[in-house]
């Protein structure tokens, strides 16, 4: 399938996402320039990690005004798949494509380490290749990953199953010392209410090769591939014109 990885000034893990998709997974991924508005017909947009625009002012606060983001918002509102990793998650929150916000880690310092996250809902395009309750080992590297949202919003999100990833220990138990940044309810990743936009602080693109320490990140990307293939199979079976119009030839 076709992927687009947005390159903002200050994006850092864009080349890593492209490497994971193209070289490790054999996908067709291309960089999308922040000053462009053309999404080049991709089926999934990735907003990568890094420090877009230096993260000056507030993480993601400037990136949301980049020309490409107009197209990304339109794409998401039309049901297109958008994956925001780390800084990409922060941008999605700033752009109101995802609820909540990300604040400074409770340690007040940047943290780079492997963490365990539990899959909370497999009925989404981002997690369908994983098992319910499966624990993935993924790296985090961020200074601002403490997730917050208003209490009623959080309640609604939990009821709808929008919390897709939670920090746990290796056995999948929620524990305060397994929550690296102090996120509310140990939330590591959330989807929007229509489950086509997903933001997470851990970096699946940095866990795709055993030689570099793990492959659990593949579960996220494979889920996306699986869901897109299933959707297109279903679409061609049903000859649904609404679905096929989203994928320009």
């Amino acid at each position: 399938m076709k992927w687009g990885v947005v390159r903002f000034p200050g994006s850092l893990d864009d080349t890593d996402a492209l490497w994971a998709l193209n070289h490790v997974m054999g996908q067709e991924a291309r960089a999308l320039w922040h000053k462009d508005e053309d999404l080049a017909g991709v089926q999934c947009v990735v907003l990568p990690g890094g420090f877009s625009y230096g993260d000056y002012l507030r993480c993601g606060a400037i990136a949301r005004f980049a020309p490409i983001m107009k197209s990304v918002v339109r794409f998401a509102n039309d049901g297109g798949l958008v994956l925001g990793i780390c800084n990409g998650f922060q941008i999605l929150c700033e752009a109101h494509l995802l609820p909540g916000a990300l604040m400074r880690n409770r340690s007040l310092s940047f943290i780079c380490e492997l963490v365990n996250v539990r899959i909370e809902n497999t009925a989404t395009p981002f997690t369908c290749a994983a098992r319910q309750g499966e624990v993935l080992r993924l790296p985090i590297k961020h200074g601002e990953g403490l997730y917050v949202a208003p209490a009623d919003e959080l309640r609604a999100m939990e009821e709808r199953g929008q919390v897709l990833l939670r920090y746990t220990d290796a056995a999948g138990r929620e524990r305060d010392d397994a929550n690296p940044n102090g996120s509310t309810r140990a939330i590591a990743g959330v989807a929007n209410a229509t489950f086509n936009v997903f933001g997470l602080m851990p970096h699946p693109e940095h866990a795709v090769e055993a030689a570099l320490g793990g492959e659990d990140g593949l579960k996220i990307f494979r889920s996306i591939v699986m869901s897109v293939e299933q959707a297109s199979a279903a679409a061609s079976a049903a000859r649904s014109s609404a679905a096929s119009s989203k994928t320009p030839a």
């Binding site: 000034p9 200050g10 850092l12 893990d13 080349t15 890593d16 490497w19 994971a20 890094g50 420090f51 625009y53 230096g54 993260d55 000056y56 310092s109 940047f110 943290i111 780079c112 380490e113 790296p139 590297k141 200074g143 970096h203 693109e205 940095h206 090769e209 030689a211 570099l212 320490g213």
Partner: protein, 769 residues
Amino acid sequence: MSAANSAETPVALADEPAVDLEQARAHGLTDDEYYAVQRWLGRTPTFTELGVFSVMWSEHCSYKSSRRHLRMMPNQGPRVVGGPGENAGALEVGDGWVAVFKIESHNHPSFVEPYQGAATGVGGILRDIFTMGARPVASMDSLKFGAFDHPRTRYLLGGVVGGIGGYGNCVGVPTVGGEVMFDAAYNGNILVNAFCLGLARRGELQSARAQGPGNPVMYVGSATGRDGIHGASLLASAEFDASSEAKRPTVQVGDPFTEKLLIEACLEAMQSGAIVAIQDMGAAGLTSSSSEMAARGGLGIEIDLDRIPLREAGLTPYEMLLSESQERMLLVAERGREAELAAIFSRWDLHAVVIGKITEDRRWRVRWRGKLVADIPAVALTDEAPVYDRPAREPSTAAATSGTASGAASKSGAASSAASNLNAASSAAFWPSPAAALRRLLDSPNVGSKRWVYRQYDSMVQSNTMAGPGGDAAVLRIKGTNRALALKVDSNPRACALDPYVGAAATVVEAARNVACAGARPIGLTNCLNYGNPERPEIMWQFIRGVEGIRDAALALETPVVSGNVSFYNETEGRAIPPTPTIAMLGVIEDAGRRVTPFFKHPGDAVILVRTAAATLAASEYAAFFAGNTESLAALDLKRERGLIEGLVAAADRGLIRSAHDVAEGGLAVTLAQCCFNPDGVLGAEIDGMPEQGGAEVLFGEGASTVVLSAALGEIEKLRGLFGGIEFGVIGRVTEGTRLKVAEAIDEDVRELMQIHEQAIARRLAAHG
């Protein structure tokens, strides 16, 4: 050396102070240097010119005390590419790739303003690498702080680590390793040495040598402000005293976001082929980059200051020329291709403006508001800057010259222990049990885990990191090849305080051995030489002995010295740091799949000790804790050291070993414990065949080159054959459980030891509240 024969002479500007000997002294020039300036110009310099001379002739920029000695370093070899005189050397690492690497100090700024000082140290070394046309792929740092409970240490540690992370994490270059040491000898003068490694395709290296009179000179990157003025001359080339706080405005302020743009834009611009020469504006900013590029090409340069992008109005020529504002590059473009280059930089939202041109007449000429403000022969600022052969004299006692590192008491044994607060509480009469000593050592911030530090650094961006911080050497793969690079930064000031020659040579050997423990063949090194005031003969002696030690070890190991940096004046109120040459070694692993890690892996494997000599407590962490130490270092047999390294490389290459870990701070007992701390599941070990039983020297000595290996029982004899002439002994085996047993001396739970090791720094910071 007469004045230019052009009719025009630089003019003094209104409001500028008069130039005389007094003014020259205030700028840090000696009387003789001032007279030399007058001879070069055939007249009295303008105030602007005086400022320019003072920075370019500062120790920091001119290497005037060290240059003649640095020439003895071996810098040639079959892998070396790139001519001398460039910013850094390059080494072929195979499959068409070349590695460019360098280490540089940012000690003085980091002591005055730890966050920005360390951050801009990282930024500066990155620019040194990508200006060569290489993409920076890894950073490391060597840090020395004062005693952990010194009142300033916590502030400096937090600031420096924050600055390294704040800058490094934001530019997308992983920080893959480093070292951190705490010792009272650095209470008044911390060390921050920043290393960067870059990779380029062979044939794509860039030059810093101007060519082609008439070619335009372009200024790229951040606008110029008033920060960093006289950073090189007044801050980095003088000792600290009570007034040092007031020098904080000489510390630059970093903007890593702009640096990231600069990296991408410069690498893209280099691909266009329109860049003739390029250099970053580091120390002495615009002045050094412009005069050095011109002088290297045997040419001149003309600069129009009215075209310099400014952060604020009202900067004088003096300020513009001396500013050390960060994230700026100067390049010589091919004539007619300025617009093409400007378009690339503008795509990345960066300034790129033509500010002058290359000339034939070898003069460095600067105009402002239509007036000539400086006119100096370019070589007078660079190659022809003063060079000194300063007197050197062996001190009667090592302690007389420096605050000796703790544990490394001098031959007289008197002065140094008092300098070390680690030693202050100890007494030679107190010998704890081996188990208690092991626990105490694992809890030392020098021995224990540095996780508190490195978890604040992004070590995985760029997707190459096979082994990050926390092991012996870091290992990075080279994408698209089977190869990997191993890198390690090392220093051993305690040994250098006892013997500056042996200590320096041993540091080179140690760095090489660490790289070899990862399975890599060491191929070259860079060094950062941190010493006291070179105007003192004892310091100069330490320095020369250090250079000789590095030279001899580099020759013996055939690891050329491709780049380096000297930091003098590391003193506070007459008290120098111990001699601290920092070595960063690069190694190549032909088959990345053959890399070796420090951890035991299979119960039943043999635990093997390989060493070149018996360990002693000289300069050890154990001695620093438990006993004043009057021993001297064992002599170093470089041939045997090379044999040990060759054996390790061959053992890894043939897949005969399952783990290899160098014995370093804390000695053998600590190393054995660390081998058990496998992150995939701890293991135990039973050690019953120690070379000699019981003594503290064997368990905790550090003096010798010693490696702990583990291997399947069937491989032992093949392995032994690889270490001919070097002591090789099976001392025990890896066990299923979680106990570390060493003869009758130690029987401890590995998980408990790991917990102590893990918390060594974190718990102290928590306790400080």
